[in-house]
Symmetry: C2
Subunit: 137 residues, 2 copies
Amino acid sequence: MSDLLERLRGRGWRLTAQRRVVAEVLDGDHVHYTADEVHALAAERLPEISRATVYNTLGELVTLGEVIEVSTDGRAKRYDPNAHHAHQHLVCARCGTIRDVHPSGDLLADLPTQERYGFAISAVEVTYRGLCPNCAA
Amino acid sequence: MSDLLERLRGRGWRLTAQRRVVAEVLDGDHVHYTADEVHALAAERLPEISRATVYNTLGELVTLGEVIEVSTDGRAKRYDPNAHHAHQHLVCARCGTIRDVHPSGDLLADLPTQERYGFAISAVEVTYRGLCPNCAA
DNA sequence: TCTTGACTTAGACAATGTCCAATGTAGGAT
DNA sequence: ATCCTACATTGGACATTGTCTAAGTCAAGA
């Protein structure tokens, strides 16, 4: 993730202050912010950045495969910059916090063809749900 | 699911026309409607049913463990009445259609303790994403 | 049949996300 | 160094999904 900006420039991204700030906010391994959280953090550095730009930029990063969009609870989507390493999520049912975990084995065994019902499958997600240490108290 | 109404009555549910209609709409194995779809279908039989009642009733059914709430795309949640048989979901990335599939083995192997980060895990979800036969065309 | 607490209703409100027309600007061309 | 222009940003209106509340209604036991 640290050389994200170079990768993006290499793909012809026009590098603006807004995009740089959004990318910097997302830098880090265990970060799973909502769009509004990204907006708030970006605005600390670039006060007049608009919500629309944050949404646009996040959408572009998802399209480029640099971050993964995670919808765990029907509330705000969260954005996961750890797109280059296969991982799964631990989600708190109360506060929505997400934590990455790493595959314990190769559970991603593909579905047998007869269970695919004609779908062209491109990804598998595994989500463990429960209460985080904070909310369990 | 077919004797859902009896189970609910047995739990002290007050049986109203609205609840009956919502439960009937959800009857069926491969049904995964959004709350608005449930409302529209319920309104065909009981025209003046309100959205609030549909939301309330769906929430109660989830609390009672009779249906499962599925959030696959950050858009509307879908309600899965097939709560009594373990299963996984195949989700179309374009149209949001959901299809049930049945565990091919016991992939639900628990996470090792050192990967739980103090979470009290209560459920595991597996979602396969791709394009359904319709959208692939 | 009466009564009562649970249920339903309409609509206001909240949270999240999308879209658009007007304005600004990054970076190549000159 | 400056100019151009296609692409990016902005603010605000709008859309979708879901929640809440106060007032009216009704299921089911007495």
